[in-house]
């Protein structure tokens, strides 16, 4: 085991970078509060002092009611900022439609040609593949471009997730959910269905292959 598994995956999108910063910022505040409170509790428990001015002390009442909301503002402001940034769609060059099924994902690229494929989990055990996370038809997406994803489902609710890109969006039957995707660099990015959808919920992984635009065009032409 490595320490990597206890933390976030490396980010591959500006949004995920910001989310990691936000996480660290919040954890920092939590640790400060926790250590202050622990210190105060231990201090109070380990001495015999009595504070005769504790009741009707307006000043301390004022301080300990106003500081928590101020601390909360420092958490809420960046949180809301990121929340609304995640909803934004930014001049997409491509729309990819993604459908959840029991128990695989299917993809449609219909801006230029009609590309449709299904991606099932690879089930053969060998040393070349990652177990339970690789698929037979990878989703090819160019990096450094804004892409619109439209997620829907054909049966029950699923959830399309790529942790390193800060994307998690429910696939709801009869509804198209939109989210923006932007990748910083090439590589393989993985995710799994994140809404309990039946017996094979754990066996419908998502695999994205991020490649440059020219290679992507080549893939489209030769599909």
């Amino acid at each position: 085991m490595t320490w990597l598994k206890l933390s976030f995956q490396n980010s591959n999108s500006p949004l995920m970078e910001q989310l990691i910063f936000f996480h660290d910022h919040t954890i920092f505040i939590i640790i400060m509060i926790m250590s202050t409170i622990t210190y105060m509790m231990l201090f109070i428990m380990n001495n015999k002092f009595i504070n005769i001015k504790i009741s009707e002390n307006q000043m301390i009442e004022f301080i300990w009611t106003t500081t928590p909301p101020i601390i909360l503002i420092f958490i809420a402001m960046p949180s809301l900022h990121l929340l609304y940034l995640m909803d934004e769609i930014k001049c997409p060059i491509l729309t990819i439609k993604i459908f959840g099924h029991q128990w695989f994902w299917s993809y449609e690229y219909s801006d230029f040609s009609n590309i449709e494929f299904e991606s099932y989990m690879m089930n053969d055990l060998n040393k070349e593949n990652f177990r339970l996370i690789e698929v037979d038809n990878k989703t090819i997406i160019p990096f450094k471009f804004n892409i619109r994803l439209l997620i829907s489902s054909d049966d029950v609710i699923h959830s399309w997730t790529i942790p390193s890109l800060a994307i998690k969006i429910d696939a709801i039957p009869g509804r198209m959910n939109q989210i923006n995707l932007f990748m910083n660099r090439p590589g393989m990015y993985f995710g799994q269905c994140s809404e309990i959808c039946g017996i094979n919920h754990s066996f419908m992984p998502i695999q994205i292959e991020s490649i440059n635009l020219n290679k992507f065009i080549y893939w489209i032409k030769n599909f």
Binding site: P92, T95, S110, F112, Q178, Y218
Partner: protein
């Protein structure tokens, strides 16, 4: 944003201020309906109709378009064309 690489034109449905939310279901249905209405009045070859056709093709699931087309053929499409 339109990008042309190796003869493939990368162009998709633009952001539509009528549908600013995550839910884009109505964007799909509305552009499909607009295409059918446009086709009825100006004919399929008309330029503006092609725009609606492209948008509905980009946004709507292929299965929905197929379903609606059969409904139109069998004269039981619920929309007002």
């Amino acid at each position: 944003m339109v990008l042309e690489v190796d003869g493939v034109k990368l162009e998709t449905a633009p952001w539509d201020p009528r549908f600013p939310n995550t839910n884009q279901t109505k964007y799909c249905y509305q552009s499909f309906l607009d295409y059918q209405r446009c086709k009825k009045i100006r004919g399929e070859e008309f330029d503006a109709c092609q725009y609606y056709k492209r948008v509905s093709k980009s946004i709507c699931p292929n299965a929905w378009i197929d379903k609606w087309n059969t409904q139109i053929e069998e004269n039981r499409f619920p929309g007002n064309i």
